[in-house]
Symmetry: C2
Subunit: 213 residues, 2 copies
């Protein structure tokens, strides 16, 4: 009997969500788990529900983010660059993701990697539906069909439902991984996720504070 998948909550606008997206499939595969990718909107969870400001507008933390994201990328060995776009959002991309996921989950993941790469390695916009189509079309998706789907009331409702469900499960920031009912927040906690996947317990087998090298 196979083990339940890891729920991976992500938002395309988050660099840490991007970092998580580059690691989660390999981590899950090493432990015989699948990954269920679930978009969430931190504009709803963090800004509206928690009443916080965006990271990029929070004194002190915004400077830390600027310094931290590039070194996280180096540690993980993945490409990364900051963009200076303001006011973008992941609504269209997340709706497109859910629409694709309902038809082909593997295709939806390839699309998600493409959206993340577009924003966080190429620095290109992902906000408008046309830019989202730029990612999907090379994967074999019909442009007009995608644009119609993203604009549909069904797609809007599906994303709203997805966010509501995430909040009901206690998700606030991204990435959040939920495995066997355990929520783990942050791409700086991949070690903790791996600990659970190996031991299915929080008891220390050995102090988890060392890095593996």
């Amino acid at each position: 009997m196979s083990k339940p998948p890891i729920d991976f909550y992500f938002d395309f606008v988050s660099p840490y969500g991007y970092f998580g997206s580059t690691q989660i499939e390999a981590i899950a595969a090493r432990h015989g788990r699948g990954v269920d990718w679930r978009p969430v909107l931190i504009g709803v969870t963090v800004l509206q529900i928690m009443g916080m400001k965006p990271l990029t507008e929070t004194p002190l933390k915004k400077d830390y983010l600027r310094r931290d994201a590039p070194r996280m990328a180096r540690l993980l060995g993945v490409p990364f660059r900051f963009h200076d776009r303001k006011g973008g959002n992941s609504l269209a991309a997340s709706r497109a993701f859910l629409w694709l996921k309902a038809r082909d989950a593997a295709l939806a993941k390839r699309f998600a990697h493409g959206v993340y790469a577009r924003l966080w390695t190429q620095g290109q916009d992902i906000t408008d539906a046309q830019s989202v189509a730029e990612v999907a079309v090379p994967l074999g998706v019909d442009r007009d069909e995608l644009l119609a789907a993203v604009a549909s009331p069904q797609a809007k409702q599906a994303l709203k439902d997805a966010v509501d469900l995430a909040v009901a499960k206690g998700v606030f920031g991204v990435p959040t991984f939920i495995v066997d009912g355990e929520p783990i927040w942050g791409s700086d906690r991949l070690w903790m996720l791996e600990h659970w996947l190996k031991h299915e317990s929080w008891d220390a087998v050995q102090a988890p504070r060392s890095s593996p090298e």
Copy 2:
């Protein structure tokens, strides 16, 4: 020539600061470093400067904290329990710490461990100066001398200066470790601190995502 110490920024009111306090000396020692303990007030950095609410009053995150802190304690193998105290602060304890540190840094660290244990393993108050004295007196500190010092304008100014300096260095949350100019925030990032101490670089020697067991 010995390497510069790790600056360890802590606040007694933070459970994650407590977790950091239980690990940092051993981590530093493994890499031939000392530790410079520096109190900061998250009531100033997080609440005033960043404009955030306390963790315990932030929707969603407060529930995560309740779940997360006990499992972090299990992972680290340290005692822990939540207290239900409201409105406490670390002013007196932090002033006492700085006063002790100016006389005997090793004594000040023993005192800090005692304050953390009082709040986060015994669930007892650390807010009023008398409760702070309860920790210091068994370590050989004169009660009246301590109480007079904590109430002095010099002690208040010393803590204010310490917080100002921390903010100038970009510290916001606790624990924050600064080593060789690299700030590392969070007791979930001890792996990252160890990576730096080993390699003094952010380049991945091996993917740092695995836990060591």
